[in-house]
């Protein structure tokens, strides 16, 4: 840590950890409900648990991205954050909006559009919050001495993510139009601008961890984010196969979705190649695990499992089944949860001054959570494929199929328990690091 204001990042990461813990709890509620144990139905019906689970995911990832930006931008721009006080205002308001939304979901207060359930009045607060965040980041960047590619890509990702939130706030009478623009937010976030954010953070981590020349890393960063956008923007078409939009999207979506794994493959090869090329071996092994892990798991989860599910002829049967949940879990975990855990692992020793670089707990957290999540993905996949064959191909009634596949949710819960154990250890380490300190600045 070179700049005092970077400490703000710690509190965003702490908020992330808290929300991740809650997200997992609601995940278990849904897993048990799928098995037939829905004792909480009167208080937390499935649609509440579902909205809370996915929205907490989005908010903790965003909080992590914001923390990452507050850490990375001052260091890259060689400039203290323009206002630490406003950054804390932004943190508190983010937490308040998130909590109000989530409490509201328990009282039927929402706008039931998948992933965008936050009710309209709170949407405006989200906009104000994000504008404040962007103002702070961009002002720091432009006041700073340097504007590196890494910081520009990261800031561009954050700026576009904010802009793309807006199409999701327009009301349409027509369900098809509604869905069409909802994907401008959801798809263009996760398969577009969030990958810029991920790429920016990954480049920063690789520069720090491997010691490879910045020019080389940033050159490949451009190539990868270029591939991301070329495949991802038109890849939006895979959401437009079967929602009342014309057939041209079957072709456009099919072709460009097939290209999407290339961007992720590029990212994985890039990370591994830079690691091998690097002469400097940074002692922070935990951060290194997560950094290489995110590059590889995002290729598997988002890239490979994504394309398997977006071939139009396959998607005709898998669309709207548990197969989507299979892809969704490993994609979000590999690409966005892991990049957050990577940057947190890298920054914690620098923020707190405690150098827990290569602990057994750190490795255990990594392996337990990853193996657990892979097991969950397989359980969802088996349940999903069984559902597709029974319900969509054989024509067996939905409820009967759900009873048949209940057993896979027992496996899911077992694997989720392993995953949770890994996350608990990660959080234990997080707490053990203690708070950010002034000494940490002197040490670096």
């Amino acid at each position: 840590m070179k700049y005092k204001s970077q400490q703000v990042a710690y509190w965003f990461f702490a908020l992330s950890m808290l929300l991740l813990a809650l997200q997992i709890i609601y995940g278990f509620i849904m897993g048990f409900a799928h098995m037939g144990y829905d004792g909480l139905h009167n208080f937390i019906p499935f649609n509440t648990a579902r909205a809370v689970h996915t929205n907490l995911l989005v908010v903790w990832l965003l909080s992590g991205f914001m923390g990452a930006a507050y850490y990375i931008i001052p260091e890259e721009a060689e400039q203290e954050l323009v206002s630490v006080k406003l950054a804390y205002v932004q943190l508190v308001s983010l937490a308040v909006v998130g909590v109000v939304a989530i409490v509201g979901y328990h009282f039927n207060y929402w706008e039931g559009r998948k992933f965008l359930e936050i009710p309209r009045p709170l949407d405006y607060l989200v906009v104000v919050n994000v504008l404040l965040f962007l103002g702070l980041i961009l002002a720091t960047l432009f006041k700073g001495k340097k504007r590196t590619t890494t910081s520009l890509v990261l800031s561009m990702g954050l700026l576009f993510a904010a802009l793309l939130y807006l199409p999701g706030m327009i009301w349409f009478d027509n369900q098809t139009m509604d869905s069409f623009f909802r994907w401008w937010v959801v798809h263009l976030w996760v398969e577009g601008v969030w990958e810029l954010i991920m790429g920016g953070i990954l480049a920063f981590l690789l520069i720090k961890i491997t010691g490879v020349d910045r020019e080389v890393i940033e050159k490949w960063l451009y190539v990868i984010v270029g591939l991301t956008f070329i495949s991802g923007i038109l890849g939006t078409g895979h959401h437009y196969y079967y929602i009342g939009t014309p057939r041209i999207w079957l072709m456009i979506g099919g072709v460009f979705s097939a290209l999407e794994p290339l961007a992720f493959l590029g990212m994985a090869l890039f990370a591994v190649a830079m690691y091998r090329k690097g002469e400097k071996k940074h002692p922070n092994k935990v951060a290194l695990n997560w950094t290489l892990g995110t590059a590889i798991m995002s290729f598997v989860g988002a890239g490979l499992l994504g394309v398997a599910h977006t071939i139009p002829q396959v998607n005709l049967y898998t669309h709207g089944t548990l197969v989507t949940a299979m892809h969704g879990h490993l994609a979000f975990w590999g690409a966005y949860a892991m990049i957050n855990l990577a940057i947190i692992s890298y920054t914690l020793p620098n923020l707190t001054g405690r150098k827990l670089y290569d602990t057994g707990n750190g490795a255990l957290a990594f392996w337990l959570s990853n193996i657990g999540m892979l097991g969950m993905t397989v359980a969802f996949g088996v349940a999903g494929v069984a559902q597709v064959y029974m319900e969509r191909i054989m024509g067996v009634e939905f409820g009967i199929v759900q009873q048949e596949i209940q057993v896979h949710f027992a496996i899911l819960i077992a694997c989720a328990t392993m995953f949770t154990a890994g996350i608990c250890i990660y959080m234990y380490e997080f707490v053990k690091y203690g708070r950010p300190s002034e000494e940490a600045m002197l040490n670096s």
């Binding site: 590619t149 437009y240 079967y242 009342g244 999207w249 456009i252 409820g399």
Partner: protein, 146 residues
């Protein structure tokens, strides 16, 4: 070997070209094909009220419509065709949780007017041209569970 400025050109050029194609295709779809495929002329006030109810109760949090939503409860695009109006109305107006095969739905207890709006919305959805979704099961005739 590729230089950094060439890489930047690839990124910016590729992004701009892709985005322009995307905007063009979107414009064509929304101005021409979508109104036709969705029978936009049939979006009556009842259908729109039904959509409001659909969203304000987060039906998508359990069900899917056009294959989008959650996977806890049945896909509803063709529910009117599959179950008929009487069954759907019963599920919507029930004061106790509707629970076919033990899986509970929230007991919304909608009024007759609200149920009629939701039925209008679901009927409209059922008539949208979805390029063949949901596909007819291949081996339906072998199944005895309908």
């Amino acid at each position: 070997m590729l230089s950094k400025s060439q890489a930047r050109f690839f990124f910016l050029g590729g992004t701009i070209v892709s985005f322009l194609i995307f905007l063009g295709l979107s414009w064509k779809s929304l101005s021409d094909d979508v109104p036709r495929q969705t029978n936009a002329q049939n979006l009556t006030p009842e259908v729109v009220r039904g959509k409001h109810l659909w969203e304000s109760n987060n039906c998508m949090g359990c069900h899917t419509i056009f294959g989008e939503g959650a996977y806890y409860a049945p896909e509803l695009t063709k529910v009117m065709e599959r179950r008929g109006e009487a069954y759907v109305k019963l599920a919507l107006t029930s004061k106790t949780p509707w629970s076919p095969r033990g899986r509970k739905m929230v007991a919304y207890g909608f009024s007759d007017a609200e149920a009629a709006d939701l039925i209008a919305f679901l009927t409209w959805c059922g008539n949208v041209d979805l390029n063949g979704f949901p596909a007819k099961p291949k081996y339906q005739q072998l199944s005895t569970n309908q």
